[in-house]
């Protein structure tokens, strides 16, 4: 089969890779993250503007909820804007936080995607400022807890969230509830 001859390096598109972290109360899939970024860029810049970006999701790890997109070197600012304009995916509140930009995948992995990330599931009764919560998970020193209180649950529902965010040391387990000194 006849294959297209590769362009000389001087005529190839100058690429940039943008690493990002998907923060949400639900686990997101590669397909829905990719289409959310594309839809946001399309809505912000229109079809001609979107075509200039040459934007494509290259990799997304569902376990770590982070990945990277490729775009043209002069479209990085617009890609960052498009990612930060994504507010929800599938009815759940999200934030696609840009981690950094690099010219090669290897450097991107080394600089921004090398450490461990991910949500560690837990289930435990805790209290926060005198109210009862059920701890659902932790990540990077932060805890995510589901409120028992109906008023707070309603507030979260309006905000399209499932959990309240707190520092782990702010939450106290059942056995510590009477003693304010100890964190989890």
């Amino acid at each position: 089969m006849l294959r297209a001859k590769p362009l000389p390096p001087s005529l190839r598109m100058r690429k940039r890779y943008v690493a990002f972290l998907a923060e949400s109360d639900v686990r997101l899939g590669r397909r829905e993250v990719g289409s959310a970024i594309a839809a946001s860029a399309l809505a912000l810049f229109g079809e001609t503007g979107f075509s200039e970006l040459s934007l494509r999701l290259l990799e997304f790890s569902e376990a770590e909820q982070r990945g990277f997109v490729v775009c043209s070197h002069n479209g990085v600012e617009r890609v960052v804007a498009a990612m930060s304009a994504v507010s929800e995916i599938g009815g759940a509140r999200v934030h696609l936080r840009p981690l950094g930009v690099s010219g090669t995948v290897r450097a991107l992995r080394r600089k921004f995607l090398s450490g461990k990330a991910g949500f560690i599931s837990r289930e435990e009764k805790v209290s926060l400022e005198g109210k009862d919560f059920i701890l659902r998970g932790t990540t990077g020193g932060l805890c995510y807890a589901e409120p028992v209180d109906e008023v707070l649950r309603e507030r979260l529902r309006i905000l399209k969230l499932r959990f309240v965010g707190a520092l782990c040391k702010e939450l106290r387990g059942e056995e510590d509830a009477a003693d304010a000194k100890h964190g989890l």
């Binding site: 617009r78 936080r97 840009p98």
Partner: protein
Amino acid sequence: MWMFTDLHVHSLHSSGADTPACLQRLARSMGTELCLCDGVVHEGIASGVEVHAESRRELLGDIRRYWRKFDFLIVHGGSMEINRCAARDSRVDVLVHPYAGRRDCGVDTVVAREAARSGVAIGIDLEDVVAARGAERARLLSQVGEILRLSRKYGFRIAVSTGARCRYALRGTKEVMALLQCIGFTEEEALAASQHVPRELLEKKRLARREVGRGVRLAQG
């Protein structure tokens, strides 16, 4: 190095979903300086209040009650009566989303002149723009563009904040700069609106709170 100073964030203490410490940790990791406007004084975080008033009389009462207590005072705009009254009062730091519930941008020539004279900043919440879709977002962007045009003509300041009620609505310095430049701000205007103006407002209030009489200020230390 400059960092985005976010003047309009709500925590669990008002209408938000996260504790102040959690929000502060996340904001730091994004390179943002966090200020909370819960109407509660937080230790170690610049604390402000957002005033929602139905009438001019109610607004003036609230301003009188709160302006010395907090590091900054934000007025929730919308009706032209509130927008004009807030823009005229130099005790107000930011008149936030003057376009709320309106078809126009909520800033006419009177509001623009008064805001420029009294030093009140007109606030734009990125959450409004980010959460909106389609025609609604287009309308909001045209309202923001109109405010920007009037700011260039009359010289009033613009302060950009996220208006975040949850951790996922916080934005980093680079994200805010990128978003603002996408919606028509020049680089200098984006820097001023996201970084210089909020800091100037906090500094102005810090000095004003040390005033014991007209033109008399307590010396430091």
